[in-house]
């Protein structure tokens, strides 16, 4: 009996201190946030989760895949996805919001770039860079035993999409796309090649620590347009689509359409949440380069930015 009383007291207390009481009266079911397979997303999601917890909500993290999660978001098995990249997830997001079962909860404040990237020393071996035409003439400079005579382009894990095979074919580049199985493997390739000044061109994304740590540039492809992806006749190659670079743009938050009704307060917090590229790159660097535990990185941000997130809860 005493224990029950304690429990009730604790609820009342949390409600009284940390949030206007109306919100604590919302559903006590856990809000399910999805975790993917790259550090930035884990940090982003855990920060959001911590803020929601501070506001008195129950939170549960579920491992789900980047694209596969939309199936769960539609049915309400999953509730909140923190990083849908304009670059790779836009079609899936549009398709899901069109079904009416998923809502776009606005930008995270992060701006995404995903493109082919090479270290600066490759410019000496392939002087025409960063223009993509240069890749046509010096594909062999990028070759390895496995792909010779074609050049090797290390793509992200297949699950990230990106249409690189199509791009190679449409732009008639003599490259073979080799997919790194994981985020870590991708950057392990870069690290290993960079140390020995070996040739490499690979998928790099921003916000990330790699462009800050290593000297290099993105390849400049013909700029992206939606026609280029959808219409074969547009762009450099009249017969094939995907004859241009990747889109750039914001990283979105996506939520189950029932979330705003079930937890209206939480949805307001989710919408207010903003973070910058610089902050995120620094945190990802801390986690990946210095080997700091992700939970530690997150709680570090939470302490340093108490005013900011209290403001999101407050208004």
């Amino acid at each position: 009996m005493l224990r029950n009383f304690n429990a009730l007291g604790a609820v009342a207390l949390t409600a009284a201190v940390s949030a206007p009481s109306a919100w604590a009266a919302e559903s006590s079911d856990p809000i399910k946030l999805t975790l993917h397979d790259w550090s930035g997303q884990l940090i982003n999601t855990k920060i959001m989760g911590s803020i929601l917890q501070e506001a008195g909500y129950n939170v549960e993290y579920v491992q789900a895949d980047y694209i596969a999660q939309f199936a769960g978001l539609k049915t309400g098995d999953l509730h909140l996805a923190m990083e849908i990249w304009e670059t790779t997830g836009r079609e899936a997001l549009d398709e899901a919001t069109a079904s009416g079962k998923v809502v776009n909860a606005g930008e995270t404040g992060l701006m995404a770039i995903e493109e082919w990237w090479y270290p600066a020393y490759m410019k000496d071996r392939c002087p025409g860079l960063p223009d993509w035409q240069a890749l046509k003439d010096c594909a062999e400079e990028f070759a390895t035993a496995e792909t010779s005579p074609y050049g090797r382009y290390v793509g992200g894990p297949v699950t990230w999409g990106g249409f690189d095979e199509e791009r190679v074919e449409a732009l008639e580049l003599e490259f073979e796309v080799v997919h790194a199985g994981t985020d870590a493997a991708l950057f392990a390739e870069l690290e290993s090649a960079y140390q020995r000044q070996d040739p490499i061109v690979l998928w790099v994304y921003v916000p990330h620590w790699a462009p800050a740590k290593y000297d290099g540039e993105f390849v400049e492809f013909p700029p992206y347009s939606s026609e280029c992806y959808s219409d074969p006749s547009a762009g450099v190659n009249p017969d094939l689509a995907y004859d241009c670079g990747k889109p750039r743009g914001p990283i979105w938050k996506a939520a189950w359409a029932g979330l705003p009704e079930k937890w209206p307060g939480a949805y307001e917090i989710v919408q207010s949440y903003q973070i910058t590229n610089e902050e995120m790159s620094a945190m990802v660097g801390k986690a990946d380069l210095d080997g700091v535990d992700i939970d530690t990185v997150v709680s570090g941000w939470m302490t340093a930015n108490k005013d900011r997130w209290s403001g999101w809860i407050g208004n």
Binding site: V11, K32, G72, A185
Partner: protein, 664 residues
């Protein structure tokens, strides 16, 4: 006869040569003839199986209904039923019973203390057998605590505690049903074949749709994966029961039900336990894959470590899975044995008869009460944990820094002289020719039935538009199997002929087999980075065991008389091996290779994580995009390759046995 044989064999060699030449020059030939369809199947010929399956799936999930109950409601109800005991176990073992929202919910009752759980396991060991088993079980659980794996291990244990009874019980009931209805068995048999050859990844997506995202789906997938051996073993064990026992049971006037549960099942209990053991092993094998769709615990730790390329952490969590497997396996074996014995109830009160239960329960209470004052009693102190992670990381770093050139040279050598030629040949063979050759081969070794099977299955792969990926699969799998055979068979022969070497080799093989397959990937990726070569090494390591075991068994079981005869006719040791032992062991060796092929195919899907480009990758992409049709089609293609290989090798082995007069 002699002349015909040579004519036949020269024809066979001729065909092989033509095939290889076609492989090398097929591409140019197709260009010269302007017949690209020879190499690449035109997209208009491809039958869109995957879109059809996908739309069938979405109909099933969204619209299908029996009366007022929709299909999804039914599956969700099952999910709910499984979730309840699982949540209870999870709260008891791992999370504690919590109440209230926010960052610091009120703890109503913390999770069972590590001390109480370890003592409970020791008590169970003592109850089931003796102090020896108690010590083994206790040591395993103490290891989990000391190496800081306790929390994850308890999450995994909770899922094992739920999945194993459902898998074993369901398997037993299905097996009994099939035993009673011979027609049921005939339907069940191909279904089981498919369940065991389709990669698990392929059916994860439909399960996600039906049972929702989260640990329950992972549990369901685990159960589906772990049940087939139990069904097979149940059918076999029931059939093997001595007919006299059966007659005796009938004469005693048992009803059908009594005959089954009082006579048949107890008589078969020994073999049934082998099935339960298989269920446990497969369940623990599955924990890593299950963590991809939301199961937490040790499996997730290994997966996360692989994603971070953190070899130390991955290795420790992997070992923890093995340790847990050992403890659960030994305890369950002993428990079943103990249940089979007859017990005399000793006099005295309940408490006096159940001293161990009383001890464990009171310990649980005491740790719960005192745990409020001293957290040490509830959680093993983090500061006292040991980790060897740094050692493993340093070892790999050292190798990487100092021997990079050596590793690179080995890799390039293998790629240029072994892997790439095979790949080029296989991808170059025009597909109609390949199907024709497969059919011919099937006809030669197994008659027209096998020929039809080979032809139809390979043609199905072709029209599903996956031919190139299937060839990459065959290439990776084939190259690995060749290498595994070249390493495994000599090792097996050595193990059979030399006792001391045999012990060492057995130990090596046992270790390789119990480690979860994912654990191999991490160090190999660190040393050789991503690509086909890395995948090949991981596959060879995983698939080596049966090649060694079957070769050793085959060589050992060559009859003594034949050896004697060889010795009498003056064979040297080498000749004895070459002319008597190896030929006689050939059928066994072939069966071993067959098993190696099966394991290699199942590992292929996992190597998709290091960036191969075969059917495994296709299945993996489908999993991550939640594309049911794509995954099932690619999964079926892998199953077809497995079935073709299995039937061909088995038929070949039978042919060899007949030739040596071991079978008529």
């Amino acid at each position: 006869m002699k002349v015909r044989l040579t004519w036949q064999s020269s024809a066979a060699w001729g065909l092989v040569l033509v095939t290889i030449l076609l492989g090398w020059f097929g591409r140019d030939l197709a260009k010269a003839l302007d017949a690209r369809w020879l190499i690449k199947i035109p997209s208009s010929w491809v039958i869109p199986f995957k879109t059809r399956i996908s739309s069938a799936m979405s109909w099933l999930v969204e619209d299908a209904a029996i009366g007022p109950v929709s299909f999804t409601d039914a599956t969700r109800a099952i999910a709910w039923l499984i979730e309840q005991p699982y949540e209870l176990m999870l709260s008891l073992l791992a999370h504690g019973f919590l109440y209230g929202p926010g960052p610091a919910p009120q703890v109503l009752l913390p999770a069972a203390s590590w001390i109480a759980v370890t003592i409970a396991v020791i008590a169970l060991g003592h109850f089931c057998r003796n102090w020896g088993l108690a010590a083994v079980a206790g040591a395993c659980f103490a290891y989990l605590a000391v190496f800081g794996q306790w929390d994850s291990a308890m999450v995994t244990l909770a899922s094992v505690v739920i999945a194993v009874p459902i898998g074993a019980g369901g398997g037993l009931l299905t097996g009994i049903w099939a035993y009673r209805h011979p027609r049921g068995e005939r339907i069940l048999s191909p279904v089981l074949d498919l369940m065991q050859t389709i990669p698990i990844f392929a059916y994860l997506v439909p399960i996600l749709f039906m049972f929702g995202f989260g640990p329950v789906s992972a549990l369901v997938a685990t159960i589906i994966y772990a049940t087939p051996p139990m069904i097979r073993i149940t059918i076999m064990a029931l059939k093997a029961v001595d007919p006299e026992i059966l007659d005796f049971g009938r004469m005693a006037g048992t009803t059908k039900r009594q005959l089954m549960w009082r006579v048949l099942v107890p008589s078969a209990s020994q073999s049934l336990m082998v099935g339960v053991n298989q269920v446990i092993m497969l369940t623990l094998n599955m924990v890593i894959i299950a963590s991809m769709i939301g199961a937490g615990g040790l499996g997730f730790d290994v997966l996360a470590a692989l994603r971070r390329l953190d070899i130390g952490a991955g290795f420790e969590a992997g070992i923890a899975i093995v340790v847990l497997a050992i403890a659960v396996d030994r305890l369950s074996q002993a428990f079943a044995e103990r249940m089979g014995q007859i017990h005399h109830t000793s006099p005295g009160s309940w408490a006096a008869r159940h001293k161990r239960t009383v001890l464990v329960l009171s310990l649980l209470m005491i740790t719960w009460v005192l745990g409020r004052f001293s957290p040490l009693l509830l959680d093993y102190p983090a500061s006292q944990t040991i980790t060897t992670g740094a050692f493993w990381n340093d070892a790999v770093k050292y190798l990487n820094v100092n021997y990079f050139d050596v590793f690179e040279a080995v890799k390039v050598f293998f790629l240029q002289w072994f892997l790439l030629p095979i790949k080029k040949t296989l991808l170059g063979i025009p597909w109609p020719w390949a199907i024709a050759m497969l059919t011919l081969l099937g006809w030669r070794v197994g008659g027209w039935k096998l020929a039809a099977l080979c032809g139809v299955m390979s043609a199905l792969i072709a029209v599903s538009g996956l031919w190139a990926k299937a060839m990459v699969t065959v290439y990776l799998c084939g190259a690995s199997v060749i290498l595994a055979t070249l390493i495994g068979v000599p090792l097996g022969v050595l193990a059979a002929l030399n006792r001391r070497a045999g012990i060492a080799i057995n130990l090596l093989i046992d270790t390789l087999q119990t480690l979860p397959s994912f654990v191999y990937l991490i160090p190999v990726v660190m040393l050789f980075r991503i690509g086909d070569f890395t995948a090949m090494i991981a596959i060879v390591l995983y698939a080596l065991a049966p090649a060694v075991r079957y070769a050793a068994h085959g060589v050992r079981s060559v009859s003594g008389e034949l050896i004697e005869a060889g010795l009498v006719s003056g064979c040297t040791r080498w000749q004895l091996l070459r002319l008597v032992r190896l030929p006689m062991a050939l059928p066994e060796i072939l069966l071993g290779i067959n098993q190696t092929i099966m394991l290699a195919l199942s590992m292929l899907v996992i190597t998709a994580l290091v960036g191969t480009r075969d059917l495994g990758q296709e299945v993996y992409i489908a999993l991550t995009k939640a594309d049911t049709g794509r995954g099932l089609v690619a999964g079926l293609a892998i199953a077809f390759i497995a079935i073709i290989a299995d039937r061909l090798v088995n038929a070949g082995a039978r042919g060899a046995r007949i030739r040596f007069g071991l079978e008529s």
